[in-house]
């Protein structure tokens, strides 16, 4: 089970599971774009290019880094209409993240997620690694 929606009265609460930290970050990206853009897929892109995404010391802990990661994806989608497809994710002990992948330009102007929140945030080191997070829509 990579990710699934959980019950929430107003917004979108998801549970994400993965065997490795790198997979968890990729699954979080996938969940974010699925909720934000619905049925969008890379096939609907209007352009793409190789890209690198880095976050330097952006989270106080791994859960915070995941929320920051998703909010960075949101910012790029809303301001530049770009989706980042991560192919490789590296995280060091200082919580610095480097993701290598592809930027995909979408025809959509932003998505329906307005913020990825710390509300109800939970992170279980597992195994498997498990994250619960709520997205404001």
């Amino acid at each position: 089970m990579p990710w699934r929606k959980l019950d929430h009265p107003a917004d979108v609460r998801i549970e994400v599971e993965a065997e490795t930290l790198e997979d968890l970050f990729r699954e979080c990206a996938d969940a974010f774009y699925s909720v934000s853009l619905g049925t969008w897929s890379a096939e609907h892109s209007i352009g793409h290019s190789p890209g690198v995404f880095s976050l330097q010391g952006s989270g106080d802990d791994l859960a915070g880094l995941l929320v920051t990661w998703m909010n960075e994806l949101l910012f790029e989608l809303e301001t530049s209409r770009r989706v980042f497809v991560p192919l490789e994710v590296r995280i060091d002990e200082g919580l610095n993240l480097l993701a290598i992948g592809e930027w995909v330009l979408t025809p959509a102007a932003g998505g329906r997620v307005k913020a990825v929140t710390y509300g109800g945030l939970s992170f279980d080191l597992g195994p498997p690694l498990r994250l619960e997070v709520i997205m404001d829509v």
Binding site: T79, K114, A115, Y118
Partner: protein, 476 residues
Amino acid sequence: MDIQIQRKDPVRCLIPKTTMEGMRVPGLLYADGKILSEVRDDPVLQQVINVACLPGITGFSFAMPDMHWGYGFPIGGVAAFSSEGGVVSPGGVGYDISCGVRLHISRLAEEAVRPVLPSLLDALFVAIPCGVGSEGLTMQKGSRLDAVLEGGAGWAVRNGFGEKSDLERIEHAGCLEGADPVEVSGRAKERGQGQLGSLGSGNHFLEIQRVEEIFDRSLASSFGLEAGRVTVMIHCGSRGLGHQVCDDFLRTLSRSVTRLGIRIPDRQLVCAPLDSAEGKAYLGAMQAAANFAMANRQAIGSRVREVFSRFFPGEPLHLLYDVSHNLALVEKHFYDGKEGLFCVHRKGATRALPPGHPSLPPVYSKTGQPVIIPGSMGTASYVLAGAAGAAECFFSTCHGAGRVKSRSAALKALNAKEVSASLEQKGILVRAGDLRTLGEEAPEAYKDVDLVVDVVERAGLSRKVARLAPIAVIKG
């Protein structure tokens, strides 16, 4: 945790201070038996308890009858923090800073509008940007965006959106004077620069309504409300700019609470002392975002007037009031026998000033403040008036119906087409920027707004003036 709730009277329940270690005040829920049964197993009650643990909280951690699960603070939550030792928390305002609602009143009878309603609604749908990623009526960058953040609705009026007389019918005359654009990040400005004058998505809407029922003839007359007349309600906020301000300060303040040794039971409750540099920075940025929201609603209201004037030349569309339901304001209150300054957080709650309150605009000094309560798109909305009983909760009241059903559960019950058909059967026309939102925002997903309003009236927090029924809806 098993939460013990003590009923104080038919519309008030207490969560004792002894419920959880760290609570500084009790929780006070405005709820009758039905509303309490709906939230009894909801995380919202734990959130009321968590807020009660924050430094400087005074009186109670309040929850209005439209309460539901929010981020950190509950939606429908009110908490006042003393200027001496108290804190400000972005979670107590929410992401959509100064999300709010305004009501325009026409002299037109529903019968005069019905024949042109489909084309009027189409014209509004074209004229008012709405839906996911919608771009606004005007692009403002750099120093021009800073002028919006400083000027609020006044900026909008000076730039051709609406009339100067509108400003006295907007909370704070449309501008929070402590706004500091320097504290708004470049990222927040980038998100907001193209969104001024847009509804956005989610639960935001524009609704054409008819005044269905009058409860208080004198107040209704003072407000210009007459049964059968058409009104227009607009519900939206500060768009991506406000969300980014909240996100930025959640990150900044998460480091502050660690440094300052403030213990919080939920990381979404990060906060800073009101007199700290971080606290002042957040207040400056939040007020700037609130000004953006008020300018946004003013721009949309102005465009609605233009469209109406094409169909009904010469007919005015007066503004009754524009009020926010997501703000933290430093206010003077007389509480527990002494006067003081408090930072009152209202998250999914509305300020409601009673007759004679010194902060009222002159036009409403005798009536009390109009309070606009949007309901769900298939039921009704309300106009209330501030009442003296609200002093117990720092002059606050509810903000809407409040959700009871999740978005996925709503979609399972009815899809967008079914919701649209069901509304049209009731004579309510619908246009939506995002069809998925229409299904998620089905009337069945919300509490009974009549019950919510009934509770705040019985508790003495506000008085019912009029009930408004939708006849056409644009969903964001």
